[in-house]
Amino acid sequence: MTDVVVVGAGVVGAACAYYAARAGLSVTVLDRGPVAAGTTGAGEGNILVSDKEPGPELELALLSARLWRELAGLGGFEYEAKGGLVVAETSEVLGSLADLAVAQAGAGVEHVPVAAGELPGYEPDLTPDLAGGVYYPQDSQVQPMLAAARLLSGAPGAVLRTGVEVTGLLRDGDRVTGVRTNEGDIPAGAVVNAAGTWSGEVAALAGLDLPILPRRGFILVTEPLGGRLGPPLIRHKVYTAAYVTDVASDSEGLETSAVIEGTPSGTVLIGASRERVGFDRTTSIPVLEALARQAVALFPGLAARRVIRAYCGFRPYCPDHLPVIGADPRAPGLYHACGHEGAGIGLAPATGHLVAGLLAGAAPTLDLSPFRPERFAA
């Protein structure tokens, strides 16, 4: 019998498997699809501390940023400690941005205030029409799909089984004792629900309510720049302060705010939209147009660059915008690691680290109560 079955081979499941295996547990990872092909395959790979207000998620993010730096040593995936630049269009917004940065500093977030005149030193091609910004050196980026795959291949003894769908949970009374799959039953000491946007469905297999819903996001990808094509070269992750409010918003409607960055392959990624439209993949041209308008407003030189691809994904979100991490008291043996919305890549290592600690019986290094699974029960 395997100690742990992890449901989902996205970046979160991969991190859980990695740390559990490192803790000496035997781990089997199941995914109904290939590795990293869920929302992880649609993510940009930003590891952000800058966009989080002081509180439990920021604690998680700081731990994660540190762990990602360590994991980069595994090799085999891109990790760039590039830093993030948050810019404000008006002095009013700049004021609240500065306030946020000061509050974050109390929690351990490093930042550098950037006056309007200093912005070109960070990003020469930024529009001059900005009031200023804040630079966050701890923000970084990974190639999420490869990172997930490498965490799995680097997890000592862990077994990855693709094409295996969990269709039920094995129970002994309330206790979860394994999973039922299209390829037979797999008994396990513990089951980790890391099924991303589909985690609610897995919880439902245990008769539990876990309110995780999809929030669609589109990304535009430009032609590869660099080489003879020259600038604009985007050095950091750059986004507008409006992004922070969008992330936390409860609106059903479309929200977009410019989030722009270059990748080592020479493309520029342009996000981010947020909409609650179920699992609808139909391309929305108005969303693509809005993203383009915001990108060009921030980097006028991008107007001449071509978009060669666009894609969308479905962020797993909870009503309170916090992830679900920990043992489920309603079903002993079942652990959740899901609901990370637009930050699952950044938060994956901390999540995996904490879940592995629980599985191995260690005391958590972080207060997990804000993330407890039963918090939604009416």
Partner: protein, 99 residues
């Protein structure tokens, strides 16, 4: 730019030479063109079979699909980068730069 050692080879059908209605230049060298021909065809006919190199391996690229879907043939014309040579009609005086 990769150029045939023996100079222009094509641009003719059964011995009938095209009337070189005008010229364009490739890195300053004049090349004959006929109205309506694409830049890719004009270059290919002049024995120039590649006009850019790839980002990673620095490998030479020219025409491949001929119909605008592969983007191998991207070319810089009069300073404008990333035009598809197979889809861009040659115009008198066009300056193609390779590299």
């Amino acid at each position: 730019m990769t150029r045939s050692q023996e100079g222009p080879h094509a641009g003719r059908l059964d011995g009938a030479r095209p009337v070189p209605a005008f010229e364009i230049t490739v890195d300053g060298r004049p090349v004959p063109a006929a109205p309506g021909q694409t830049i890719g065809a004009v270059l290919h006919a002049a024995g120039v079979v590649s006009w850019r190199t790839t980002r990673v391996g620095g490998r030479p690229r020219g025409l491949f699909c001929g119909i605008g879907i592969c983007f191998d043939c991207l070319v810089t014309v009069n300073g404008t980068p990333s035009l598809r040579a197979c889809q861009t009609e040659a115009l008198p005086g066009d300056r193609v730069t390779t590299g």
